[in-house]
């Protein structure tokens, strides 16, 4: 019975984890491009970037759940990030992170696995021209 639950858990729970990770990556890729598109060297552009990310309709967990707690950060390079940079004109990159995708584990928990797994995703986009940087 233990072995059976483990096999079912591997197929069912890990399958869902891989799908969630993939959905989250598709979302952050699109979100980082949406945000980068709005950056125009002004503080208002940074606000519009935040808004563009929150309006994206992409969802996860088989397309049923909206992404929560999405973080949008701006950088002059791909090393240093700030959610509210002082100098908007120096922003050349946008980083979007979807950190709060908690997936309930249904079968593996019965054989000692975790109760839930977090499936974060992150993407960076350049602003001019708009393209994915990583």
């Amino acid at each position: 019975m233990f072995l059976l639950l483990a096999v079912i858990g591997l197929a069912f729970d890990l399958g869902r984890v891989y799908i969630a990770r993939n959905e989250a990556q598709v979302f952050v890729d699109a979100a980082s491009m949406a945000a980068a598109q709005q950056v125009d060297g002004t503080a208002a552009g940074l606000d519009r970037a935040q808004g563009a990310v929150s309006r994206l309709p992409n969802r996860w967990n088989f397309g049923n759940e909206a992404f929560q707690g999405v973080e949008v950060e701006f950088g002059t390079d791909e090393e240093h990030w700030d959610a509210r940079p002082k100098d908007a004109s120096a922003v050349h990159f946008v980083r979007v992170t979807a950190p709060d995708n908690h997936l309930d584990i249904l079968f593996l928990r019965a054989v000692g696995g975790p109760q839930s797994l977090t499936v974060p995703a992150q993407a960076v986009a350049a602003t001019n021209p708009v393209r994915l940087a990583e």
């Binding site: 059976l4 069912f12 399958g15 799908i19 993939n22 890729d29 309709p57 708009v130």
Partner: protein, 162 residues
């Protein structure tokens, strides 16, 4: 045969019968569980491939040049996006193999977001009516997976699709 030997032989036969019955019941449960596991596992695997394909297609659509000299050009642009989703290649040859078994361009829906005659705001890509044959049961995906990507490509309203 003495009466003692007869009773002993009867108990052994009874135990053998119980074991057969237990095996039949437990095998039924196990086969059902394993069949269900295979079915879910395979459907998940295919769905994951579809998520990747739709994401790649949406990103390609968002970055390509939008040409709209005629409605036919818009449709040809959509056909290239569908090919990218299904074959991983916008100009796929006739004998190209789909990235997901059985997926056809007609099962990929592409919609430009925004007003006609203006720069598109975004592109929506989704799967319509794709059925996974998981042997024990068929699963149909309709409207999922879905991906929207902001349009960041070139805008050429007077150009023809090559």
């Amino acid at each position: 045969m003495s009466s003692e030997a007869f009773r002993s032989h009867g108990r052994a036969g009874s135990r053998k019968g119980h074991a057969m019955l237990e095996l039949a019941i437990s095998a039924g449960v196990m086969v059902t569980c394993l069949a269900g596991t295979f079915q879910f596992g395979y459907a998940f695997y295919v769905y994951n491939q579809l998520v990747t394909a739709v994401g790649n297609g949406a990103r390609y659509a968002a970055q390509r040049t939008y040409r709209a000299a005629t409605p036919e050009d818009i449709e040809r642009g959509k056909a290239a996006i569908r090919n990218m989703v299904v074959y991983g290649d916008a100009q796929a040859s006739n004998d190209a193999a789909p990235v997901v078994v059985g997926l056809k361009p007609g099962q990929v829906q592409v919609e430009w977001v925004g007003k006609a005659g203006e720069v598109p705001l975004a592109v929506d890509v989704s799967i319509r009516g794709y059925t996974v044959d998981a042997i024990f049961k068929e699963v149909t995906f309709d409207g999922k997976p879905f991906a929207e990507c902001p349009f960041v490509g070139g805008y050429a309203p007077g150009e023809r699709e090559p």
